[in-house]
Structures are given as structure tokens and as C-alpha cells.
Amino acid sequence: MELLVMQLSLFVLALMLGVELITKVPPTLHTPLMAGTNAISGIALVGAMIAAGDPTAGAVARWLGFAAVTLASVNVVGGYLVTNRMLAMFKRKS
């Protein structure tokens, strides 16, 4: 339970930090921001790898893990690439 409260504290602090940071992002970068955060939410990949890589779990659980790995990988690869593509366009002229 103590651990849960700690996790909750981390969640809350990260949320407040996120709010402070995001409010500083200029409108020009809002679309890349959305795509970039999409990529970050692909961090679920880490959890998915653990689920898919555990041979002691049942088949349904592992296939769910596989599905999660696949979806999260789309997010990670797709998200970072497309964000980079957009940002590169901004950079060309600076």
C-alpha cells in the first residue's frame, strides 16, 4: 500500500510537471507535440514486453502481450518518425 501511495505521488508530480512544461509549448509545435506524446505513450511497450516474454503465463495472456507489443511498437516507431519528419520541416529554415 505504501508503494501504491508512492506511485500515486509520482503520478501527481509528473502530471504537474507535464502541465508546466506543456503550457510553454508554442502553438506552432502543437501538432508535433501530439505526435511526440503519442510516441511517448508507446512506453507501454515496456510492460508489453514483460507480458509477452513470460513463458509461464497462459496463451491468452501471452497473445495479449504480443498484441500489446505490436501496437506499442507502431506508436513508438510511427510516433517518433513522424514527429521527426514534421520537426525537420521546421528546422530547415532556422
Partner: protein, 469 residues
Amino acid sequence: MMLDTFMNLAYLVSAILFILGIKGLTKPKTAVRGNLTSAVGMLLAVVVTLWHQQVVSYGMIAGGMLLGGAIGFVMATRIQMTNMPQLVAVLNGFGGGASLGVAAATYLATIGAGGFAADGVNTVMVMIIALTVIIGSVTLTGSFIAFAKLQEIIPGRPMGFPGMTAFNAILVASALVLTVALGLDTGNVTYFWLALVLAAVLGVSLVMPIGGADMPVVISLLNSYSGIAASMAGFVTGNTVLIVSGSLVGASGLILTRIMCVAMNRSLANVLFGRMGAEGGSDIDADEVYEGKITSASPEEVAMLLEVAKKVIVVPGFGMALSQAQHAVREMADAIERCGGEVTYAIHPVAGRMPGHMNVLLAEAEVPYDKLVEMERINSQFEECDVAIVLGANDVTNPMARNAEGSPIYGMPILDVDKAKTVVVIKRSLSAGFAGLPNPLFALDNTLMVFGDGKKAVVDITVALEASH
């Protein structure tokens, strides 16, 4: 033990890299590096996880990563900039789906290994699992409806049936009841699957009644959900990097949602349940507004105006995205500048279909970003502007927002285009923008309408300008 500590420290480092990455996104100059920083954080987290004690067989991991990575690669390199909202919608859905998968797999694996011991912590834990699954599931199906609406696979107009809000309320309540029930009876797999399915239905029925014009808000909200789902999956798997980075994404989605709502002068509740598009414009008669007051012009006439103009402001809108006119616009601006005029771009916060949509398109066409001026700063400049070119923008220039009390966009801050000496509006017809309202701007004495596809019209103007110059 040692390995665990090392791994957790590495996760902390990735979380810090994500934060620094987002910090990089606060300035155009540091944005590319920011995105790379964040990607390095992700790489670190993934690599470290390969050493996790539970990760024993790599087949499914490699398979999923190859498959998903390939799909992601193709999507990211093939997508047109004008379709970015759709891509974001899809990625949101996948993010929600991944968290759903993680939570569900964790639950089922524990059940398979003998179930949860009966104690308070596990009650809370299983309830968090259920909530993760519910949020993930809503995000997954909701995002695909949003995608389908944006892609016009299903109609953009609000769709639903009487009592839909009550239906949704019942779904939400049932999902919450199932969450508590599962917490008290942790082994009851039926409750679990039921909650998952109900949430999937809920995702559909929440988004269906929202009009296409409001999809950006929905997407942003779902972006936030996908973050929160990842964060909760972190609670479930005891993984701090998931908690922290999910939470950052959650905050980002929330802030963008708020920014859009403020820019449209509407509450989030109004966006989600107001069905503005459905009721909106119907009581205002377009014919009455336009009849006999429309002056149309040819591209050549516009070119003559531009040849002598000192100060030109381009006002891009969703029509520029649809007609892919961004490169043509850039060339027109170059031509105007060769004639001695100065060109800037007025960017309304909700022009287009997602925040920053116009900025990305114009950046693609290599317009320097210091020429893109935000609404608050440019509004005072329209008075000194010789020609304002409204290219496929409609709602964000509609003066009804200023003075037509009771109109659905009343109170939304708009670009004061009507103050310009001459206004040139380029669009295909007199039909309405996404708010479904007629636009008195088109009927003003100083407004010239150029009817036609955005890109074609702009190219014609440029050609005429170059010929005469």
C-alpha cells in the same frame, strides 16, 4: 536484486529523458533534439527491459516489434501532412490498446498462476487493472471512430439516437460497478471481460454523436486518455517509467484540449455532449445573408490588386489542407514579395483540424516560422493590411462570433479579417465551414470571392502576377 536496482535506475533515466525531450519541444530550435532525446529515453527503456527477469522467451517480443515497427515505419513515412489528424487518432487508439493489453495480460497471467491473494492491496490493484482496461478500451474504439469520421469513412455529422446520453451514463455506471465487483471478487473473469466489452461499446457511443469539426478536441482528449492508461498500466506492473511518462502524456492531452476549448469559447462538456453541429446554423438563413451582396473576382483581378499591395496577410484554413495548397501559397507569397509587397500569415488557434495544423503545413512548404503570426498579435495589423487572402478558412473569420449573440460560435475569438482594405476569399462555393454557419464576411463590400479549388486558384493568381510583373 542488484540487477533490479540497476534497471529501475535506468527507467528513471528514461523518464528524465522524456521530460527533457518535452522541454525541448518548447522551442522550435531545440525541438528536433528534444524528440531525439525522448527517443533515446525510449530505446534505453526497451533495451533495459530485455534483461528483466520475467523476460525469458524473445520470440513474441521480436515478432511484435518487427510487425509493429514495420507498420509504424510505413505509416510515418507515407502519411501526407494534411492527414496528420488521422494518424494521431490511430496512434492514440494503439496506445490505449497497448495499455489495455498490458493490464489484461497481467491480470490473466496472475489468474492463471493461481489468482490474487485476498488482501486489501490486491483489491485496489485489481480495481486499477479494471480501470486501465476500461480506459484503454474506450480509447481504442473511440479513436477509431474519430479516425473514421476524419477520413470520412463514416459521416462527420453527429450520429445517435434519443436517450444516447442516458445510455452512455448507464454504460459508465455499469463499468464502474464491474470494477468494484471485480475488486471484491478478484477471480471473476466474467466481470473482467464484461468490463472490457462494455468499455469498447462506450468508446463508440461516446464519439459517434460528436460532429466531425469537434474531432480535434476528441482526439486530444483521447491522447490524454492513452497517457493515463499507460500510467495506470505502470501502477499495475509496478513500473515507474510507465507511471511518469503516461502522466506526462495525460497532462499534454489535457492542456491541448483546454487550449482548443478556450480558443473556441466552448466548454468541454459542450463539445462532448452539446452536438453543436446538429442544431447550429439551421435558424440562420444563408440566402438572406448573401443575396445580392456577393462580389466575385477572377484570379487575374486579384493579381492586379496584389501587384500594388504593400502589406498582404494570408489567412489559411482547413480548405488549404484539403486542397494541398501550401506549396502553391508559398510560391504566391514569393511572387508578391518580388513585386515589393510584404506577406505574413495569420494563424488562428483552431484553424484546420488540429492544433498547429496550419503551422505544420506551411512549414512543409518552407515558410519561415517567424512569418506565422498568432491571432492576438496579428489582429491589430489587419487595419493596415491592403489585401487579406482567406484561403479555405471560414469559421475562424466569421464576424458572427463577434456580434451574433445566440449563434453557436458567439464569443469565439476570431481573426479580424474584415478590417483589411480588401478581403479576397478563396473557396469552392458559398457553402458553410464546419460550424455550419453562413459567413457575413463574404457579403461585405470590401470582400471579393474567388470560387474554385484552393490550390488551383492560388496557382492561377501566381501565374497572372508573374505574367504582369
